[in-house]
């Protein structure tokens, strides 16, 4: 079997209602986490980005042809690429995770037809009705010409995209990958999710990480922000969109095995206002790790969205560097040491585990 390569993080880009910027902006927020401001959308509070913030991130001529969720993606991707200093011409892959894609454009496209028939259809909107639109437009914006993947899974889209990107680098498929997640808040979608019993507060935004083979990153003297030492993803048994009962996780064991058997000292988990799901996650973590480790989630502060899972990986790198695990409720940070686990568990059983350590 091919030797697996060490994977490091060399750039981070975060765009959401609480912060915009690279790893220093994320670090400053993690040192004193404050909840993103919420506004009512579709009858529920949501951590929505102010329009002026987004307008400031994209040039108007470019923005004309980019849907809102594509703008969020490109804004986050560009910050990460800039921080890493990587030259995309040397080969850059792209993995984008999203729970909801570009429903805003899909709804507008359908509305055009319902209002005015065939001549009401917009050619400009049509490409946005396919969920790879964020990846397609971002690949053009950052000149990424290697593999390009868009992953649509409930709940753990961001974690999965980073895990998938790390696996591609570790397995020697590509030397560098821009991996992350994005989602936006749309009023009709928020209303529909509410009607379907979706519980966590929704947020929006994009978080992207530049992942590289450690050897190539060191060779170009890149600043290394953290390491991803092992990743795995599996499915726990559950009805679609249901909460399961079994706690035995193969994903956590497999990620730890890839990381040389390391035991994590702390966890970023996907716990949220969805109490049944959070209880299941606690049982899974306890069964795999033997105890209740210090844990953070950030979901209540930033809102559930595809970018959040990727943000947790970037946050884990910060925690591994700083030795501080932020508290979701405003209490002082917990002092921790050693590597940690980023854990995602979704309704339906989607299950992702990443072992993250310091450079």
């Amino acid at each position: 079997m091919q030797d697996r390569r060490a994977v490091v993080i060399t750039g981070v880009g975060v765009v959401n209602a609480a912060m915009v910027g690279a790893s220093p902006a994320l670090g400053a927020w993690l040192a004193r986490p404050r909840a993103a401001a919420c506004v009512p959308v579709g009858g529920r509070p949501a951590a929505r980005l102010p329009e002026a913030t987004l307008a400031g991130l994209i040039d108007p001529a470019e923005a004309r042809r980019l849907s809102r969720v594509c703008q969020l993606t490109i804004a986050g991707a560009r910050v990460a690429v800039a921080e890493s200093g990587i030259d995309p011409a040397r080969g850059l892959g792209l993995v984008v995770g999203s729970e909801l894609g570009d429903f805003t454009s899909t709804i507008a496209f359908a509305d055009g037809y319902l209002a005015r028939g065939a001549s009401g259809l917009s050619a400009l909107l049509f490409p946005n009705t396919v969920m790879n639109t964020m990846a397609a437009t971002t690949a053009i914006a950052v000149a990424s010409r290697e593999l390009s993947l868009t992953l649509n899974v409930p709940g753990v889209a961001g974690e999965l995209a980073v895990a998938r990107g790390a696996a591609a680098v570790a397995g020697g498929r590509v030397d560098a990958v821009l991996a992350g997640g994005v989602d936006e808040i749309d009023p009709l979608v928020a209303e529909m999710l509410g009607a379907l019993g979706d519980q966590p507060m929704r947020g929006e935004g994009a978080t992207f990480l530049v992942l590289e083979a450690e050897a190539t990153a060191r060779a170009r003297n890149a600043a290394v922000l953290g390491r991803i030492d092992g990743v795995a993803w599996r499915s726990l048994s559950a009805r679609p969109w249901g909460v399961g009962r079994r706690a035995a996780s193969r994903a956590i064991d497999a990620a730890r095995a890839r990381a040389g058997g390391a035991a994590p000292g702390w966890v970023y988990g996907s716990a949220s206002a969805d109490t049944a799901l959070s209880a299941w996650e606690s049982r899974v973590l306890r069964a795999a790790l033997g105890a209740d480790l210090p844990a953070a989630s950030l979901g209540g502060l930033l809102g559930q969205h595809g970018g959040l899972g990727a943000l947790r990986v970037a946050a884990a790198a910060w925690t591994a560097r700083s030795g501080l695990l932020p508290d979701d409720d405003g209490a002082p940070a917990t002092r921790v040491s050693g590597p940690g686990l980023v854990h995602g568990l979704a309704r339906g059983g989607g299950h992702v585990a990443l072992m993250v350590g310091a450079a």
Binding site: P60, A61, R64, R65, S119, G120, S122, A123, L124
Partner: protein, 91 residues
């Protein structure tokens, strides 16, 4: 319909269908070029031109046949307005 009226309608289409900012649309002159890559143009690409053709059909009733060579007519607002006026006259 005169060329001036057509030009004003095209500016409306710039905003309503091609998503231009109203201030940017108000700034265009008859001589402003349309296609991307031409100096001073408003930068339309192939997808924009498809959207524009749909809008022209809906607004002016002029049906565009893709098999025709139409590039010269889409060079600027002026050439496009004249083209639309002549097609409407012929109809």
């Amino acid at each position: 319909m005169e060329a001036k009226e057509v030009f004003d309608e095209l500016k409306t289409i710039l905003v309503a269908r091609l998503k231009f900012d109203p201030r940017r649309a108000a700034e265009v002159a008859e001589t402003t070029p349309l296609p991307k890559g031409v100096e001073g143009s408003i930068g339309l690409d192939s997808l924009d031109f498809i959207e524009l053709s749909i809008a022209i059909e809906e607004t002016f009733g002029v049906v565009l046949d893709e098999s025709e060579e139409l590039t010269a007519h889409f060079a600027s607002f002026e050439t496009l307005a004249r083209f639309i006026v002549s097609r409407r006259g012929a109809a």
